[in-house]
Structure formats: C-alpha cells, structure tokens
Symmetry: C2
Subunit: 342 residues, 2 copies
C-alpha cells in the first residue's frame, strides 16, 4: 500500500467538505489505486493541525492556534496540497504562497480558489513544469461543470475554435428575476442579497469579474494561452435597463452573462458580456446555480456541458477528481522530486 499524504490549506466550508469527502472515499482510494491516503495537515488563516500519521475526522474540530502558513504545510510532509482559501485575483490571495511553496519543491497542487491562478497562472504553470509537479484546478475552473478536463480529455486531439460559458450563478439569478418578474437591476439585487444569492458587495459577480476569472483559467490552463484579466473586454449586467429587458422579451430571447473566447491565427481573444439565446438553444435554459460551457472544435462540432451540483460538495468532488487524476499520473511517472517536466 502506497502512502500518499495530503494537506488542505484554507479550511472554510469548501476545505472542510473536501476533507469529509476524502475520508468517505478512503476505501475507494485503497481499492482502486492501492493508495493509503492520509490527511496530514489542515489549516485556516490562523489555526491548523498536523499529524504525520494522518488526522482522523474528529481532530479537525480542534484546530490549534498559530499553526498556519506555507511553512506549516511544508513541514507536514504532504505529497499533495489542496488549496481552498479565500480568492483574490488582484493580489493572488493567501493561496499564492501555498501554491508556490508546494510546486517549488515538486509537490502536486490541487487548487480550488481562483485568485492565485488568475493572478499568476503562467508563472505557476511554468513552476510546476520546472519541478515536475502537477497543478490541477477543476474546483477553481467551474467546480462540478467539466471545463478543462473536457478540453483535455473528451475533446482530445481536436482544435478548440471557440468557447462560450455561462459561469456565474448570481448573474443567472438577477437576469432571470429581471426578465420574469419585472424587477429592475437594483430591486433584483436587493432581493438576491436578502435571499443569500448575491454578496453584500456583488460587483465581482455583477460586473463580470468572476466570469472573467474562470475564462482566464480555461484559456491559460486548458488552451495554454497567456491571458491576463487586462486582456479581456469585461462588461457586466449592472447597466441593464428596463428597455433592454423589454427588447429581449419582445424578441423572445434569453439574456445570459457569457464569457467567450475565440482562437484564430494563433491568438486568443476573450471577453465577458451579455449574449442572448433563442429558446431552442439549450444554453437559454441554464439558470440558477447551473453553469454551462459550449466548446466548438474543428472535428467534433459543438459540445455543450451543463453542470449543477450542490455546494460545497460539488466543488469538493471536483477537487478530489483532480486527486484521482494525480494518483493515476503518479502511478505512471518516475519517482517524484526527480525534476523532470511532465
């Protein structure tokens, strides 16, 4: 039995859900991969707990103060670090230091928060390649919706020509409320905030930055592009007016906030803005917490994926899908730390 040590940095709802699911699947990991998966450390921003022999679930309710930070995770001896901390694409957030620390010594990283990847994606990608570490980000790219692995696996060999994605639940909710219940943007937003469907400061969602972040991750990690947020033309839904709503209703189309990407002549152009869909298009029916992506390739035409899934479980499952892909890849590669590129 091959012992594989896992640490989780960032231990809020998603980090805890990931730990729970990891425990629930231990027998699967043994049976399928011959891997004895041990959770050797977890930490939030100010507290954590570690045990080189592996933590049992009950110990995760007794985090110890000051046990946190990249050095703490590094000292745990983890082979794989799952990063699930708060996300900030303008600074990289606390995740950036954890991910850099792991990758730089050849540890594999499973990243759930988008911030660091959006802020420093190409740098982290290059760092992983230089040390032979694996860098996976299904949880960050769009959780239960398959995106990068659809490109990398299901469409393998095909050239991606175009991607469009409905990637943000808050804007789905707001546009639906404006279209179907005659609310203005401000009213719809107030109701969404009251119901827990929008943040107190909703601009990351409503102004399109969350969608833009996910699009940048797909481009850089799925298509090997080098986009930064500044390369995107980003428009949100905050300036939708009653007149727009009336026009769309009259035209019998459904508006969605869409991240889109076109590749031509070796260049990748990406943008975020409202697109409208006729009712015969499956994307017209992606609402609420559902997310969707349409990928157009040279040889397979259009492939649509639509994902739902209850959070935080779905995101935890996306991260642990990455874990299984790493276990498969680890079984196939030379001993780790050898410094070879993947």
């Amino acid at each position: 039995m091959n012992v594989v040590r896992v640490a989780i940095a960032g231990f809020g709802g998603v980090g805890r859900a990931t730990a729970s699911l990891l425990f629930a699947r231990r027998e699967r990991y043994r049976d399928v991969y011959g891997a004895d998966i041990r959770l050797v450390a977890v930490c939030g921003s100010r507290s954590g707990i570690a045990d080189p022999n592996g933590l049992e679930p009950e110990r995760l309710d007794a985090l110890e103060r000051v046990r946190s930070g990249p050095e703490f995770i590094e000292a745990s001896g983890a082979d794989i670090v799952i990063e699930a901390g708060p996300s900030d694409f303008r600074t990289g957030g606390p995740g950036l230091a954890y991910i850099r620390s792991a990758l730089s010594v050849g540890r594999d990283a499973i990243v759930i928060s988008k911030g660091a990847l959006v802020h420093s994606g190409p740098e982290l990608r290059a760092l992983a390649r230089s040390t032979g570490a694996l860098l996976k980000l299904s949880g960050a790219a769009a959780a239960a919706l398959p995106t990068i692995d659809l490109i990398e696996h299901s469409l393998k060999g095909c050239e991606v020509l175009e991607i469009e994605g409905i990637l943000n639940a808050t804007t789905n909710y707001l546009l639906d409320a404006m279209m179907n219940e005659n609310l203005g943007f401000a009213e719809a937003l107030a109701r969404a905030q009251a119901g827990g469907f929008a943040e107190a400061d909703p601009r990351n969602d409503t102004e399109g930055w969350d969608t833009a972040s996910k699009l940048v991750l797909m481009a850089n990690f799925g298509l090997d592009a080098e986009l930064t947020m500044g390369d995107l033309a980003v428009e949100g839904i905050q300036s939708v007016r009653a007149h727009d709503i009336l026009t769309w209703r009259k035209e019998r189309v459904v508006p969605k906030l869409v991240g889109s990407l076109v590749r031509a002549d070796g260049a990748t152009r990406a943008a975020v803005g409202i697109r409208t869909y006729p009712p015969g298009d499956p994307l017209a029916h992606v609402s609420g917490k559902n997310k969707a992506i349409r990928i157009t390739t040279d040889a397979m035409g259009e492939t649509i994926a639509i994902g739902s899934g209850t959070e935080p479980l779905a995101t935890a499952a996306a991260a642990l899908k990455d874990l299984e892909h790493i276990l498969t890849a680890r079984a196939a590669r030379p001993a780790r730390g050898s410094g070879g590129a993947e």
Copy 2:
C-alpha cells in the same frame, strides 16, 4: 521517435474518414507524444492493402483483392487495431473476429462499430484485461458526444446513480416531425427515408435497438455492468399515435426516445422508451443529429453533455481521441505483451 503501427479493419466512410484524420494529425502525434504513427494496413470485407513501413494516403485508393480478415490485419504487425466495419449486435458482425484477434495477442483495439461490443462486451472486456490490451470505444458509444469518458474522467470518483440519454438521430427527426408538422408516424418515416434521415429498414432506430445498444455499452464499459440486450425493456416510437402527440402538445412537453439506466443496491436496471421534457429542460432542445446524456451522481448532481458534430468526421475524431488516450497510457505502462492487467 517511437513507431506506433495502426491498422483499420472496416474501410467504408467512417474508416476512410479515420484514416484521413490520422494522416492530418501525424505532426501532432510526433510533437505531443513523440510517436511516429504509421498506418500499416487497411481492409474492407473483400480487399485491403498493407505495408509494414506505413501507407501513404494515395495508396488507399488502390486496395487489393482478397487482402482482408483478422489474419491479414494480424500479419500487418499493427500495435493498435481500429475496427470500423458494419455493426450487427445479434451476431457481433465481422468486427468480433477482428477485435478478438487483436486483444488476444495484447494489441490495443479502438472499436467504432457497436455490434461486437453489444454482443460480446463482457467477454471482450475480460479478454483485454487478461492480455493487458486496451479496449476503447468512444466512437461506438455515441461518437462526438462524450459518454464513457465523461464517467471515467470528468466525474471520476463520483458514484453514478442514474443516466438518461437521447442517443438516436432518426427518432429525434421523426418525433420532431410528428410534433411540429402534424405528420403521422408512417408519413414522417416516409419523409425521413426520402431525405436520407432514416434507413430503408428503420426498425433498428425506430424500435429502440440502436439506443439500447449504446446504453448497454455505457453500462458495461462505463460502469462495469454485465447487461445484455435481453435485460432491457425496449420500447420504440413506432406505436406513437395522433392521440399521444395531441396530449404532449397540450401538456407543452417534448417527447424524446430515451435510454435510461438506474443503479441501486448493486444492480443496474436499464430501459428504452419515450420520455417527455418540459421546455425549461435543456434535453427538450436536443433535436436532429444532436445527442445528449444526463448523468446524475452522488457528489456532482446532474451533468448534461450535448454533442453535435458532422459525420463521419465526428466519429473519426472520437476514435482518434481513443488513440491519444492509448498513446498516453502506453507511455505509462511496461513494455506491451507483458500480459499484465491494466
């Protein structure tokens, strides 16, 4: 550069499209996998051509008589056999002998025709495991629509609870014509046959057997079940009457021929029949040549995939996706012919 020899058995439209795409991607295979892919043999039912150094495209228009059959392919020295012959799930068709021959000596098989897999799936699966050969079937399962690889890769680690699939273009066409153009089944069928959307003998499609075949493949190869066609309750669309159409119109639902599968208590129950969808369900909008699958898992909720793609290119691309997955797996495994299970 690692030389990889490929043979294609079954050389109609799909086989030829696969050869063309293989040639078009040779540079990709060199760059990405360090693999010099050579097409060393192709054959139809009565003629073929082989060259151990690799055939160039122009030679595929000069097939030689009598050069056909499993021994011919075996003698070509192919490492990977692509099977693209006519499909017959009642006998296994000519593909069965080709696939058995390849797998039994440890050659990898990429299967495009469903017949042999439906007829002898568990036997072929066991044969592949016993010799360490890989058996891939994206082209057979539903071509450009990701099905098995969605289960195996994008939903990895999750337990599949339920699958429903809209998997047959002919029944999509007929049901749409009956719903939207007031045609009876016989009229719709006559028009579909005239337009090339239905076979002269359409029963394989209209009575649900094509859908059932694809469902059996997903169950046996995606979920490790052991279903035979006899285990399925199969109803087609041939007995849809004007009264049904009127009821569905009145209820504002859309009928589709659906293959469905439920797993509970270790058992897999599968059936084919008409299901109706409200217009807010993305599956209501899967029509014409589009296919779709909805997979419900314990941890990721519902995942829908919808595929289009122009034939025969999309099927060729599905088969060559399998080829790339094999190239990846070959790079990771011990020298072939060692007899180890995968």
